[in-house]
């Protein structure tokens, strides 16, 4: 209850409580004694009074004198505390009462024993006369006397207790300091020390009593603690430092391990080779899970690539406690292979025997593949380099003139050198053809830069050591490399055959040109002759014809009436013959002119020239029932005048040879055959027998008599010549009496 109250209050409480309890007990004893005494005294007092009244009322009783009895009782009125009084006779019968007005109910029915009853003091006292009892006096007093005395006691007690406690408080206040102060000081000190952990503080000593001893002991203890604490602190500091160092180095080890794990493939095996640790990288590259690897040995990932000796050497090395280093090809779970650059470090136990092996690996699969690829590349390069017919020499030249060079067999073969000869200094100078030396020098001066970099290529000759001259296409290029060296590439291609062929071709060409020139001259002469021939035909043949014709006409004109009918008829025939010959000559000239005219190729609108041709042929259409069917005709490339002649000739033929038909049908169109436009003109005329088709396009060839169908037999020959000059073909299909169709194509007419 007071456990947590301060000692000062505890001391005060103890002294106050103690003195309070003592005082209270004392007061209580005293008051109890007083009350008992008072009550006994009161009973004795009132009993005495009752005895007095009894003595005084003996007579009244004996004589049954109630009024005497009443006056005796009336004397009681002096005592205010008597509330009622009465006298009973010897039978116990109520005899007199006081005060006279008192209600009979206030009295007990019969006399009883004296005592405190119902808050009143009731006294019964016998009235005795001699030894005869006359009756009984009854007194009833209130207890106000008692009550006031009780109050007085209570007040007194309260006062005494209060005063005593006050005094006790003041005393104990002063006295308790003697005890509590040193203790409190101690406590303060202890608290301060515990709070500040400052063991240099000392408690103040207040005296040489037990508290003083206690203080001394306390201070001594503080001193001891202080020392110990100091020692402890030093030890702690040391330990802490050691711990920190340990932590730091542990962290460093961990960091190193993390770094190692990050970089390398790490596995640890025990002395027997069983895997006890693998890092994530090991799992990743081997594709085994950690669970699959732990407890296994490295045979799990053995690729079989390495020899037994290789493996044995490895184990011998590490079993001796030496570090092994090498490259290993392993096989992953999925069967793929990987290469690791491996360092195995044995960790030795105190006996110097390997306790475990730490294997640190780096994935060098990429490098290995690159190496393999490089080797393949090298092999490929070698193959190409050695099998190409192009002679190649490649050199790396250092600025000081030292060089490394590779040269292929083709180069040596072309130059006619052996490998040994190739190495002899200045050998290539000996191969230079005297006529090429200056040219090559000049070319190099022109094309190569200040440090002789750039490229030259020329055709030149090598004079082999045995004197044979060989033509080569020679290139030389030189460029500066990033490392300051120069690389030089020389290629030579044997073009001897080519050169020979070239020379041959040149000669052939020259001959051909000569021949062509000769032919051209001949042709020109022939052409001239032909021209002269046409000219003379045109001019000289017509003159006599005109004479024949003309004079026959003049004879008829001037002397007709003189001649007999037969004579006139003959003259007519002479004229007709002459006229017909004139027509033949005209057609023949037109035909021969075709070969001589220059072609004027241009786009030709076939629709338009067909229309123009029909316009020109209009006279033929007069009085004819003709159905003309003109289909779609594409534009073509050709000489418009010549092509128009073709159309005119074909159309006029179609119109002419269908003149017996009613209606005559002439159809013009174009079909595509094998990517070629095929134009055609069709009629429903007399046609012809296909057995004569070969004669159709010959000059002056006719399949009809002149009296059936007029004509000179030149029209289709002209058509054929024009079409041939256009590089096209012309042909005909017909059936006797069932019409004919003429087809032609034009070269270069393969566009849709």
């Amino acid at each position: 209850m007071f456990r947590n109250t301060p000692i000062r209050q505890k001391l005060m409480a103890v002294s106050l409580l103690t003195s309070g309890v003592v005082l209270l007990l004392t007061c209580a004893a005293f008051v109890t004694y007083e009350i008992v005494t008072l009550r006994t005294g009161m009973i004795q007092g009132y009993t005495t009074r009752a005895q007095i009244i009894a003595a005084n009322s003996t007579a009244a009783l004996a004589f049954q004198n109630e009024s005497d009895a009443a006056s005796v009782l009336a004397a009681l009125k002096m005592d205010k505390r008597i509330m009622v009084a009465g006298i009973y006779d010897n039978q116990g019968k109520f005899f007199a009462k006081f005060p006279a007005t008192a209600a009979p109910g206030l009295f007990p029915a019969r006399p009883g024993k004296s005592g405190y009853r119902n808050g009143h003091l009731e006294i019964f006292c016998p009235v005795i006369e001699g030894d005869r009892m006359l009756g009984t006096v009854f007194l009833q007093s209130d207890l106000s006397a008692l009550t006031s005395r009780y109050r007085a006691y209570a007040w007194l007690s309260a006062f005494i207790v209060t005063c005593s406690i006050l005094v006790a408080y003041l005393l104990s206040r002063t006295l308790q300091k003697q005890i509590s102060q040193p203790i409190l000081a101690l406590a303060e000190t202890a608290k301060a020390i515990s709070e500040r952990r400052d063991y240099s503080v000392r408690a103040r000593k207040f005296g040489a009593d037990e508290l003083g001893l206690l203080t001394d002991a306390f201070n001594q203890m503080l001193a001891d603690i202080g020392e110990q604490e100091h020692a402890l602190r030093e030890e702690n500091t040391e330990r802490k430092q050691a711990e920190d160092r340990l932590k730091a180095s542990l962290k460093e080890v961990n960091d190193l391990k993390a770094a190692l794990d990050e970089h390398a493939i790490v596995a640890i095996t025990d002395a027997q080779g069983k895997i006890t640790y693998v890092n994530d990288k090991f799992c990743a590259i081997s594709k085994y899970s950690r669970a699959e690897l732990l407890g296994q040995d490295h045979r799990l990932i053995n690729s079989g690539h390495h020899s037994k000796k290789f493996i044995r050497d490895l184990w011998t090395t590490i079993a001796r406690g030496q570090v092994w280093h090498g490259e290993i090809k392993n096989r992953a779970k999925d069967g793929s292979f990987y290469w690791v650059d491996t360092t195995i470090v044995p960790f030795l136990n105190d006996d110097g025997k390997p306790r475990q092996y730490v294997a640190i690996r780096a994935d060098i699969t990429g490098r290995k593949r690159a190496q393999e690829e490089a080797a393949r590349e090298q092999a490929r390069f070698r193959l190409i380099f050695e099998s190409t017919p192009v002679g190649i020499a490649y050199a790396i030249v250092q600025p000081d003139g030292q060089y490394q060079r590779i040269i292929n067999d083709a180069h040596l073969r072309i130059c006619g050198l052996t490998r040994e000869q190739d190495k002899s200094p200045g050998i290539y100078q000996r191969l230079v053809h005297p006529e090429d030396a200056l040219r090559q020098q000049k070319l190099a001066d022109e094309l190569l830069g200040p440090d002789r970099t750039g490229k030259i290529s020329l055709e030149k000759r090598f004079v082999k050591l045995d004197g044979e001259v060989v033509w080569v296409a020679f290139t030389f290029q030189r460029r500066k490399c990033a490392d300051g060296n120069y690389e030089e590439l020389t290629t030579v291609v044997d073009i001897n055959d080519l050169k020979n062929a070239e020379a041959e071709i040149r000669q052939l060409n020259a001959e051909l040109e000569q021949r062509v020139a000769r032919r051209t001259v001949e042709l020109e002469a022939a052409n001239k002759e032909l021209e002269a021939f046409s000219y003379s035909v045109s001019h000289d043949l017509r003159a006599p014809l005109r004479a024949v014709n003309g004079f026959a006409g003049i004879v008829l004109d001037d002397f007709g009436p003189l001649l007999p009918d037969a004579g006139r008829n003959y003259l007519e025939r002479i004229r007709n013959g002459g006229q017909r010959m004139g027509e033949l000559i005209d057609d023949l000239l037109a035909f021969s002119r075709l070969s001589r005219l220059a072609m004027n190729r241009q786009p030709v609108n076939s629709m338009r020239i067909v229309q123009e041709s029909l316009d020109e042929l209009k006279p033929l259409l007069e009085d004819r029932q003709i159905e003309l069917r003109i289909g779609e005709l594409p534009t073509c490339q050709g000489d418009p005048l010549l092509l128009k002649q073709v159309w005119i000739n074909l159309l006029s033929n179609a119109i002419k040879y269908s003149r017996d038909r009613a209606p005559a049908i002439v159809e013009v169109g174009c079909t595509r055959d094998d990517g070629e436009n095929v134009y055609f003109v069709r009629d429903n005329g007399v046609g012809f027998d296909m057995q004569y088709v070969g004669k159709l396009f010959g000059v002056f060839q006719r399949l009809h008599r002149a009296d059936e169908f007029e004509g000179t037999g030149v029209g289709l020959a002209i058509v054929q010549r024009i079409i041939h000059r256009h590089g096209g073909r012309v042909w005909a299909e017909a059936q006797l009496n069932h019409g004919a169709t003429f087809y032609f194509t034009i070269e270069g007419e393969n566009q849709p």
């Binding site: 046409s534 000219y535 045109s538 001019h539 000289d540 017509r542 003159a543 006599p544 014809l545 005109r546 004479a547 014709n549 003309g550 004079f551 026959a552 006409g553 003049i554 004229r575 002459g578 006229q579 010959m581 004139g582 005209d586 000239l589």
Partner: protein, 148 residues
Amino acid sequence: MNETKEVEILLVEDNQDDLHMTLRALRKANLANHIQIAHDGAEALDFIFARGAHAGRKVENGPKLILLDLKLPKIDGLEVLQRVKGDPRTKTIPVVILTSSKEQKDVIESYKLGTNSYIVKPVNFEGFAAAVQDLGMYWLLLNLPPNH
């Protein structure tokens, strides 16, 4: 030939048949009154430029029309044409080429040299006569030459 008489037509023709037929045609058309005939180019030029046999003539007094064959002995028709049209005194004289040649190069050359007409002699007799008469009529009667 009367030199003093004014010549209306100079006919240059070496072919006697053609000459005969031409003259006949002109005669039929009453155009043959004053015709001078030359049988080759040299003769034609002598007449036109008043040289040789015709030295007495005045060049300015030239014919009103020259009918000129192309194929002529000695000097051919084209050269005659070139001389006539190249001389300011004679270049206004109408020259009609009358020839058998249908060759385009002859036609083109003739027009380049300044011929006034180019007529191909038809083989057909009636056609020939008609052509000669027509051209005579045209150049002598219808055409209005510049005054000298």
